[in-house]
């Protein structure tokens, strides 16, 4: 199937894959720095640059279709937009998200206005600038495909080279500063990378959705691990796979737009992570909750048995019965009596420990359901037991 797509489509797939990896890695640092949506402002701020570059090329006598020049124009206004976000959020009392929203809407609005100007320029109608809104890879020129593949490779190389200092800044800017990392410069470099990814992605994903490639893979990867470099690697992998699969899928049929397909593939990876990830995933959390619930019921049931109280709670009875601790009529088996006495003793020991400030860390760390002999040494238990016996002579 892939081989049947033709040389350009192959190049686009390679470009989309490289772009996806670069976006995933770069986006990780943006996400860890809690500035994910800055990418959205940068992306929307490319539109006026594209329009101005086109008008400039036409004014100089060209036909305005040179992708490289359009992308340079995009980068210039995107950088200007980034500066505006920075200026508004540091020099005025408006928050960063307000600055992002303002820059995003105003630059985009200005860009749309330029597009209507361009539509009235004689060669403007066929310029295909609309394709940069949502990405359009169908009928792409060979030179453009090469430009995207090379751009993706450069963005990827730069993000890998900078990943070490970017991790330090993302986690603890103060510590990074003391360790000799120039925080301001690294933040700027991160933003520069975001800008590069955005500009390279314009033709494939389009400026409205490119931010998704910067946000979704890192958020999905964050579910699987707490280790920053692993988040970056995983996000890069997810981004790369989304890019290749999405670009490949969209090349198979005419009405499958590339950008949205890539974004939806990435979103599928996010959904899988949200549900399946160990520890942070939804399924894992549900199982953990059920396990805890069982332990509490079992413990309360045993305590009730030990104190000779009747148990009415059906779920508790069923659990006890399944564990062979009570008979069907609710009377404790021999093993049940033993377990109940153990539970009572554990509970008394926990009570002593809770009253003793020396055990604070241990008590705070545990839920009070674990058997004491799995937590303390025999000596410590013996000491608690003497206090226990002393308290009730």
């Amino acid at each position: 199937m892939v081989l049947g797509l033709g040389y350009n489509a192959m190049l686009v797939m390679v470009g989309a894959g490289l772009l996806g990896i670069a976006a995933g890695v770069t986006g990780t640092f943006l996400f860890l720095r809690k500035r994910a949506l800055v990418g959205d402002a940068i992306a929307h701020a490319t539109l006026p640059g594209i329009g101005l570059a086109f008008l400039l090329m036409v004014a100089l006598g060209g036909d305005g279709r040179n992708l490289a020049v359009l992308l340079i124009g995009a980068a210039v206004t995107a950088a200007l937009g980034l500066l505006c976000v920075h200026w508004i959020s540091t020099k005025t009392r408006l928050s960063e998200d307000t600055a992002i929203g303002a820059v995003l809407s105003v630059f985009f609005g200005f860009g749309v206005m330029l597009l209507t100007v361009i539509q009235n320029v004689p060669s403007g109608r066929q310029a295909g600038l609309d394709g940069l809104l949502l990405g359009a890879t169908a009928g792409m020129l060979y030179a453009d495909a090469v430009l995207i593949a090379v751009g993706g490779a450069v963005a990827l190389a730069a993000s890998l080279a900078l990943s070490r200092p970017m991790t330090m800044v993302a986690f603890d800017a103060g510590f990074a500063g003391i360790s000799g990392v120039n925080v301001v410069r690294i933040d700027l470099a991160t933003m520069g990378l975001v800008l590069m990814v955005t500009v390279v992605g314009l033709k494939i994903v389009g400026l409205i959705l490119i931010v998704a490639l910067l946000i979704i893979p890192p958020v999905a990867a964050r579910f699987w691990t707490d280790h920053a470099m692993r988040v970056a690697i995983l996000a890069g992998t997810m981004g790369g796979v989304s890019g290749v699969v999405g670009a490949g899928l969209s090349a198979t049929a005419p009405d499958l737009p590339t950008g949205p397909i890539i974004v939806l593939v990435a979103f599928a990876a996010f959904l899988i992570s949200l549900i399946m990830a160990p520890d942070r995933g939804v399924l894992a959390a549900w199982f953990r909750h059920r396990r805890f619930e069982r332990r509490v019921h079992l413990r309360q049931g045993l305590l009730a048995l030990g104190q000779g109280q009747p148990i009415y709670e059906r779920f508790t009875l069923r659990l006890l019965q399944k564990a062979g601790l009570v008979r069907a009529d609710g009377v404790a088996t021999d093993r049940g009596v033993g377990a109940a006495l153990d539970a009572l003793r554990d509970e008394a020991r926990w009570a002593i420990m809770r009253a003793d400030p020396g055990f604070d860390t241990l008590v705070n760390r545990h839920d009070g359901l674990s058997p004491i002999d799995t937590l303390l040494t025999a000596d410590q238990i013996a000491e608690i037991d003497t206090r226990l016996n002393g308290a009730t002579p």
Binding site: S105, M113, I208, L274, A285
Partner: protein
């Protein structure tokens, strides 16, 4: 320009622009102060899948089902953002980014897959609106404002927006105190028994309704710009909420009027013979106002 041409061609787009700007700017003030400014951005993206689904269900382009679909999509998005924020312990900005881009991508895909070639429904229209085309053909001049037959020919967008703007104004007035208290002092609001979550969600739903009504007429650019720029500019000019809201309404109306005029006549003044997108120009004007406020606003610094 004669009264007849003005009333027929410019009066209704101007009014629609002003109403849309005001309907978005008023809730925008509270979103801004609650640090939820980008909710407007998220809502205006997810409106697209809502409209497309409504179109696929009903099979035609009619306003009310589409507005319902869009409002439903906005509520779904807000709930989803909250759900994944809690489940994944993700910061709100990133959670928002995941949901609105995915829903927008879904909307574009549905649009491309469905047969909408014979109806006027495309992504560009959704982004840019078509303010200029909302003209009042039945008008013969100022006297038409008193003529019931001509009034029946008013663009339906105008009526819908007037209703929604009135709704926004009335609700803001009714809930002024709870809104103000929950916005500025969550702890105190909790102490006096105000349901903070309900008020917050109500604000988001009201914003969604305003965004959808405005979106239908003027496209999503103006919606995002009006949610943020006029309130942000007003915030830099005053410390009183009452003054801020009043100023933001004024600035919103002013950007709509100036933007419309510049878009229609600006190019003519400069010697070109075609007008430019009014939606884009309105957003640009509001941005320039914010820039001016950021440079000279009396309360631009942190106090």
């Amino acid at each position: 320009m004669s009264g007849q041409v003005f009333v027929a061609l410019s009066l209704t787009p101007l009014l629609i622009g002003v109403l849309a700007a005001i309907a978005c700017a008023v809730p925008g003030n509270f979103l801004l102060l609650r640090r939820q400014a980008l909710i407007g951005d998220a809502i205006s993206h997810v409106v697209l899948p809502g409209i497309v689904v409504a179109f696929l269900v009903t099979g035609r382009v009619s306003a009310w089902p589409m507005m319902l679909g869009a409002a439903a999509a906005a509520v779904v998005a807000v709930v989803l953002i909250e759900v994944i924020r809690r489940l994944g312990r993700i910061e709100p900005g990133a959670a928002m980014g995941v949901i609105f881009t995915a829903m927008f991508a879904g909307g574009v895909l549905l649009l491309e897959q469905s047969d909408t070639s014979n109806v006027h429904l495309d992504v560009e229209h959704a982004l840019m609106g078509n303010l200029e085309s909302l003209i009042w053909l039945d008008a013969l001049g100022w006297t038409s404002l008193l003529d019931p037959r001509a009034l029946a020919g008013l663009p339906p967008e105008l009526t819908r927006l007037a209703v929604v703007t009135a709704l926004v104004a009335v609700l803001t007035w009714l809930f002024w105190r709870p809104l103000k208290i929950t916005t500025f002092d969550e702890g105190f609001a909790h102490g006096v028994g105000l349901p903070n979550t309900v008020i917050g969600l109500g604000l988001v739903i009201l914003s969604a309704v305003a965004a959808v009504a405005a979106f239908d007429a003027v496209g999503s650019i103006i919606v995002i710009a009006m949610f943020i720029c006029p309130p942000a500019a007003a915030r830099l000019m005053t410390n009183r909420l009452e003054t801020q809201v009043a100023l933001s309404v004024l600035l919103a109306a002013l950007s709509a009027i100036l933007g419309y005029i510049f878009a229609g006549f600006g190019p003519l003044w400069l010697g070109f013979d075609n007008s430019v997108s009014a939606a884009g120009m309105i957003a640009t004007v509001s941005g320039l106002m914010l820039l001016a406020a950021a440079i000279v606003g009396p309360h631009r610094r942190q106090t």
